[in-house]
Amino acid sequence: MRRKSGFSFGLFYFLVVAFILFLPILLLVVFSFNDSTKLVFPLKGFTTQHYADLVGNREMVEAVRTSVLLGLGSSFLATALGTMGAIALSRFKFPGKGFFTAVSALPLVIPYVILGVSLLIMFNQVGIKLSAWTAGLAHVVISIPYALLIISSRLAGFPDNLEEAAMDLGATYWGALLRVTIPISFPALVAAFLICFTISFDEFAISSFLVGTQPTLPVYLYSQLRFPTRLPLVVSLSSILMVATMIIMLLAEWLRRLGDTTR
């Protein structure tokens, strides 16, 4: 407040932390262009060979495909369920509301190992064969709180009688949701979808228990980390993914903020 700009200890600290946050990521990118099969210093020279090698790797391409499909499916479901929950929470009073809110927020923090093994036991007991899709069901569970919170905070920014106004003008309740509630929360729906997608796309701790023989990309990457010769491939792929994720997340943020200014 006293000082709006200028160099200060606070800024110095901030920049040091930011540097440390970026350092590992930069390292991965640097090594992805390093002309060596080993991830060690000193650097050897520039190459794009690792990126070229990616294309021919069938297993990996398959894992990417699995993860993309899984991400799309699970984030669609999570966004749909989150939307319903958000409307219920922001527009209705009901007994047990506090309980529902708490239960739907718990997947944010519950240790993933517990979620993973408990689902593993259940699927095993019910006789559901493990596959990428069983992991996807778990991804929906951990994505719901994010979708719910993003959409709720968007809905909270609008007067809560817009649906009533639409019904007053002759729309049925579901018509009002379709014509008013969904359109006004649309930026949040897309933002929620994109964030849920990246959650699913990046998820390893739960997936590792549930994917069976159909590895998602993080599970595949983990399996490759054990083989030193595969590492250059891994870092180059991860560099691509980082850029892709950043684009998706920037888009999600932009939509979320865009929504903030148009209401």
Binding site: F41, P42, F100, V109, I110, Y146, L241
Partner: protein
């Protein structure tokens, strides 16, 4: 009546989904913890032996306590490291705010697995840190000073959590009405007094949200120890994972998971009380 039908249609699907795929599995796991074995006839025998074994094996609860201590350390340090970041962003950053906030968030958008893996490249014997220390002559011979230890796990998890903990604190600080700080100054409060009496108490919900957000998942962390912890750095989560993946002793694994859940439930309760919703409201 009509309103109740609408509510049922809206609340039913997400409620049922969480019931069946979140709460029910925990219940089934609780039942499973009493079974004598994973396969064969042992499946149908219910016993307290697993619990007896868990309680008598000191190595189990010792690791649980160590993990709890590590999680507490990480959550506390994360808050301490993150608070100045959030404070600077809110009150001092001025026109740099958006760009600095972006700098904080962007790294968290990259693959969790690979960010952790990247720390191997920093802490390893041929990693950045060793190479740097050799180059400036601080050490004579490369050795993995930090890798494969609990310290490596702590450093890496701090790296993971600091930005996530900073965000709810930032959200809480941002909600403080600046006129409150002016009022405090007007009433004769010095800057540090204003901080202790006004700013800090008002930011506590964000601090708590961030604290628990780091604490509870870390309690069950197993991926980071796998990658950078080695044998020395194993945590309780690895013990659970072993029961399911290697030892195939699922009932024992269930007991261990439940033990952790029992430890976590009061924390989960506090987390929901602290308003976990701060996490996405930045």
């Amino acid at each position: 009546m009509e309103k109740q039908n609408r509510l049922a249609v809206l609340l039913g699907p997400p409620g049922l989904y969480l019931l069946i795929l979140f709460l029910l599995p925990l219940g089934i796991m609780a039942v499973f913890s009493f079974r004598a074995g994973t396969i064969g006839d042992a499946r149908f025998i219910y016993t307290l032996d697993n619990y007896r074994e868990f309680l008598t094996k000191t190595s189990f609860h010792r690791l649980l306590l160590i993990s709890a201590r590590i999680a507490l350390t990480i959550a506390s340090l994360s808050v301490i490291l993150a608070y100045p970041l959030a404070y600077y962003l809110t009150f001092r950053a001025g026109s740099r705010r958006v760009i600095l906030l972006t700098m904080l968030i962007v790294p968290t958008w990259t693959s969790y697995l690979l960010r952790i893996f990247a720390w191997k490249l920093i802490l390893g014997s041929t990693g950045l840190l060793n190479t740097f220390l050799l180059w400036i002559g601080a050490i004579e011979q490369a050795n993995p000073i930090l890798l494969y230890s609990r310290n490596a796990v702590v450093i890496t998890l701090l790296y993971v959590w600091v930005p996530f903990v900073a965000l709810p604190i930032f959200a809480a600080l941002e909600r403080i009405d600046p006129s409150l700080l002016e009022a405090a100054a007007d009433l004769g409060s010095r800057p540090w007094e204003t901080f202790l009496r006004i700013t800090l108490p008002l930011s506590l919900p964000g601090v708590m949200a961030g604290f628990f957000f780091a604490l509870i998942p870390t309690l069950g962390e197993y991926v980071t120890p796998l990658l950078v912890g080695g044998g020395q750095g194993a945590m309780y989560g690895n013990l659970i994972q072993d029961q399911f993946v290697r030892a195939l002793n699922w009932p024992m694994g269930s007991v261990m998971s439940l033990a952790m859940l029992v430890l976590a439930i009061p924390l989960l309760f506090l987390f929901t009380k602290a308003g976990g919703s701060d996490l996405v409201e930045f």
